[in-house]
Symmetry: C2
Subunit: 185 residues, 2 copies
Amino acid sequence: MDRVRPRRADARRNAALLLAAAREVFAEQGTDAPLDEIARRSGVGNATLYRHFPDRRELIIAVYAEEVTELCDRGRALLDENPPGEALATWLAGFVTHVATKRQLATAIHDDRAGQRAALFGGWHDSMRATVSALLERAQRAGDVRTDVTAADLLALAHAIALAGADADQAGRLLELARHGMDNP
Amino acid sequence: MDRVRPRRADARRNAALLLAAAREVFAEQGTDAPLDEIARRSGVGNATLYRHFPDRRELIIAVYAEEVTELCDRGRALLDENPPGEALATWLAGFVTHVATKRQLATAIHDDRAGQRAALFGGWHDSMRATVSALLERAQRAGDVRTDVTAADLLALAHAIALAGADADQAGRLLELARHGMDNP
């Protein structure tokens, strides 16, 4: 056991270094970036990279999963922020940025096994939905957001805005528009 | 002159019959539908079809242009409807339906000559923008819609909603959400 523990800790540390490097390199050069460059930047070497992530797809999935986890963590943290309606809007803005900027990662996860891609994205979508539901319910209880707004519709609208091909400025304005509506108060 | 006039009227009538048939057939069978079927249904014969529309692309462009013209005509008619905010919302709902249902027509207009597609869609976009601008300005003058909302943002948001892959029910709800906002009034 004493010999296994440090090795597990090493493995976790290496995986974290590889993921951090992969995020950087994919963001800079796209998902076709050379894996050698990722190994080099992580400082752990090619053999370790291939042991952790047997192919590019596994690495892309791990990077994407980490992004989703962070987005959900941020959502949990926002459950302590006030006002609750503002916390929900902040999370949605982060979600729009995630979808707009991580689009290449998402499309690079090809369906190499029947239904696996759908299962992955289904799971991620459920996590996002749970996150936004908690923020929405809290904002609705506080009276900040109308009670007829649903989590599914908010995610769909934020997703649509992210994919509208708008730049970050316009995406921000469209989200504000969805938040405050067209109606003159 | 006397001999030319009736021929021109005939040509206009034939083109209108062909376009009406093409709209029906494309809507039922998609843009790959047999042109023979369109000629048959219009009652004008294949030779007339090919004289008016030398290839499928010309016919698709004509059908799409007619849809845009109708949408803009409806917008002009709505300038007499009240309340102005409701008239704008009605037009936007029609625009969402247009984008969602005419998507196959739009993608079937390939770019066979450099920049021609961009010029066509640029012109159609300008017409739509002029239409929504007139409805928006009227609704803003009437105090129905916030003055910081722009025509470009409204079109972008409605376009995003139409392409969100939502069914007609969800698209309607998302448009209502954009209209009234998330804020609890």
